[in-house]
Subunit: 142 residues, 2 copies
Amino acid sequence: MKSEFDLHSFLPFLMHHASEKLSLGFRDIYRDRYRMTRSEWRVLATLGQYGALTATEIVTHTGLHKTKVSRAVFSIEKRRWLKRYQDENDRRVHRLDLTTQGKSAFTSLCEAGVAYDRKVRDFLGEDEFKRLSDLLKRFNDL
Amino acid sequence: MKSEFDLHSFLPFLMHHASEKLSLGFRDIYRDRYRMTRSEWRVLATLGQYGALTATEIVTHTGLHKTKVSRAVFSIEKRRWLKRYQDENDRRVHRLDLTTQGKSAFTSLCEAGVAYDRKVRDFLGEDEFKRLSDLLKRFNDL
DNA sequence: TTGATATAGTTACATTCGTAACTGTAATTT
DNA sequence: AAATTACAGTTACGAATGTAACTATATCAA
């Protein structure tokens, strides 16, 4: 069958491959160290970085589906890595805040993240790394 | 909490976002047109492009997990878009080949793929598009 | 006020996924 | 050739996912 279409040069395919390779490399770390899922890692990282947030704010920051956030929050709470505080003005809302344990897990994974980042930078080279980051950011506007 | 780590500049995160944006844009097409999943689309595209293959060869080409391929093949077969032919020399193996209907679905999606590709090219600009493709390909060696 | 609409977050359900175990066949070793 | 090992592909099962429906609360409009 003849065609001008080639799956292996199709950008969604290429991008997905690269993305999986990259994500799984880091996932091994948080999975092996803490048995965390990707959603959990992202929620932890967001709370670690921005401090106390509501679930909806986490959705905004991460782009995760709200059910994923809900479940991730529940499971992080079960580990006693975060606590909920009911908002006084709006009782639908819970402010979510990492506990000391949660913060220390976050710190530990941040270090791993920085190391992983360095590894990728070295692999691509600093210029290419920067170029790729900039290109990827453009997709927010697609 | 202070840290040199920033989730929003973390390459796995950036890449995953861009990848989802890109993949879902095209997924809408094959999902709405044929109610296909991503695995099914990839299997179809691979068979369309390379002609008759075995399931293992599809795994090699696509990087899909073999259970995904097995299920996708089954479901494409159910639509009568492919037929199996048992290999004469090795009875474990099935040669998978698209039917006329399968080929015509492939052709139709190829056209959509080319159009989508053009849209992304226009968005990024030809040079940047090329640069991005090349960068992504490097991740195969990571 | 009351009724309608919107929002925060959770839950139920059906679908999809990955791991591991399995079946059947082929290749290799003894 | 019998026993072992390797491989193609499928299936069972538990975990994760997305959609849609739901609960509770807040906001808006009449």
